[in-house]
């Protein structure tokens, strides 16, 4: 596993835009404060914890980058300019990895509740931790070509 390097995308995301999950290929789950995100289309998967998990929750709830960064700043007691830059970096990574897209729908007008920072959790720029070992695993246990396109919904009884 490794933290992802700086985003290489040339696309920009405006502070008032929001993200939405690329739900056709991506599934995400939170357990005990940690987030697992899987891209079943390319085998990459990711985890987010601590500040990163807080940032994910805010973005996943449909808040704009601006509102999310304001909530993050208030929660951890840091400058909003810092959190906006950091959360924009995370958002670009998420877009780069195909996990989310920039939504055309308007962001939630509601200001998010300020998330409660875990006691003693210091602020750090939110990052994705990426796992690429599925490429090896897929080589060991090859999937069956074509089955990926087969509907898992059982057909009606004949």
């Amino acid at each position: 596993m490794n933290p992802l390097p700086q985003a290489v995308t040339s696309a920009a995301i405006e502070a008032d835009e929001r993200l939405e999950l690329n739900s056709s290929d991506v599934a995400a789950k939170e357990i005990d404060g940690e987030i697992l995100v899987m891209n079943v289309a390319n085998g990459m998967y990711y985890s987010l914890e601590g500040v990163s998990a807080v940032a994910w929750r805010l973005l996943a709830a449909g808040h704009s980058l601006r509102h999310a960064s304001a909530a993050l700043a208030a929660s951890f007691g840091v400058e909003e300019a810092t959190t906006l830059e950091d959360i924009t970096g995370l958002a670009l990574h998420l877009v780069d990895e195909g996990l989310v897209t920039v939504s055309e729908a308007p962001a939630s007008a509601q200001t998010p509740a300020i998330p409660e920072a875990e006691e003693g959790m210091p602020y750090s720029a939110p990052r994705l931790t990426a796992y690429s070992d599925m490429a090896d695993l897929l080589a060991l246990d090859p999937p069956m070509p074509g089955l990926a396109e087969t509907s898992w919904i059982a057909p009606d009884e004949a």
Binding site: A27, E34, P143, M144
Partner: protein, 377 residues
Amino acid sequence: MRETSLSRSEPTASRPAESDRAAQVFGRLRYTFETGLKADPEAAFVGMYRLAGRLVRLRVLGSELARCAHRPIAHLAEPVPVPADGVGVERPVLTIDLWDESAIDLACAGCVAHDDLTIQSQVTASHGSRFVVEERAQLVTAFDRAAGRIVGWVGDASRLTRYELGRPLHSHLLLWHRDRGVRAVHSGLVARHGQGVLFGGPGGSGKSTVSLTCLGAGLDYLADDYVGLEPDGNGAYRGYSLYSSTAVDPLHMRRCFPDLVQHEIPGVLPHEDKSLVLLAELFPGQLPRVAQIRAVALPRVTQSERTMIRPATTFDALLRLAPSSLIALPHSNSGAEGLDVLTDFVSSVPAFWLDLGRDLTSIPVAVERILEEALAS
């Protein structure tokens, strides 16, 4: 063969021509098999099995193919009494019909054997995915999901690959299980008195080593690669055995499991770098069909001498289990649903790290301790 396969950019529903073809292939295979069966009904091997708790009937024309089809699922065989009046007879929910053209000289239109065994398999589905056809170098099989029937032609049973011998009808059976709410999970499973420990982790993490050392130490073995996972309705989960086959690196087998060497079936293709061993006939009585899963253990290789256990978080368990189950197995249309199921599962049982030491005898001791702690909790 290849031109019929689907691609990611062309979903099943948009290919009406495929609909006809998959259904037609199934129809041709069924008609041909029934013709052969009618010609010599006494020659058919007929066996009953219990897969994921459901009764399944296997009928095979061709003695070598019958042996090949039976051996990996021999531990699932079910002696079914047939009352004279027929009342109370449990009907199979799935019938599998196979024949070997080389043995009984029964050809099927459209079924062509290829000498090149490395040809990649192709799966084609009908509109709505009722019919699913899989084509490989030496076999064509078709599954009617609504009718609960699989029919298959084999060109020459003696030319089946190690993969086909170890996991016959793998893709169809995964789909059949999935249709019944039994999800294939990339994991191993051993048990004592019906109470199981499931081993989660990616390839190379030690699932097979742990499962096989436990088997050698007297625990029951259900799987070292794929387990059928089903909720029991009371917040707990059952794990079903699918195949009795294991695939082990030949050098690893010689070093760690020398007793298995005389039974190994070496791979023949370039990518078949592991040898196959069919365990049902070697360990009669130690391969149950099902176990209640009481704990998840997450093996990983360490440099220690002894195997140690320590608590793992639910998230650790999900991180080790979900990606390899949902990505390596074809669940791309149900990733979110699959993740929900696995999250429920890992939340229902305690999880432990299983730090594997060099001393293999310490592995089953550690697994027994996990089971004891899980049952006590």
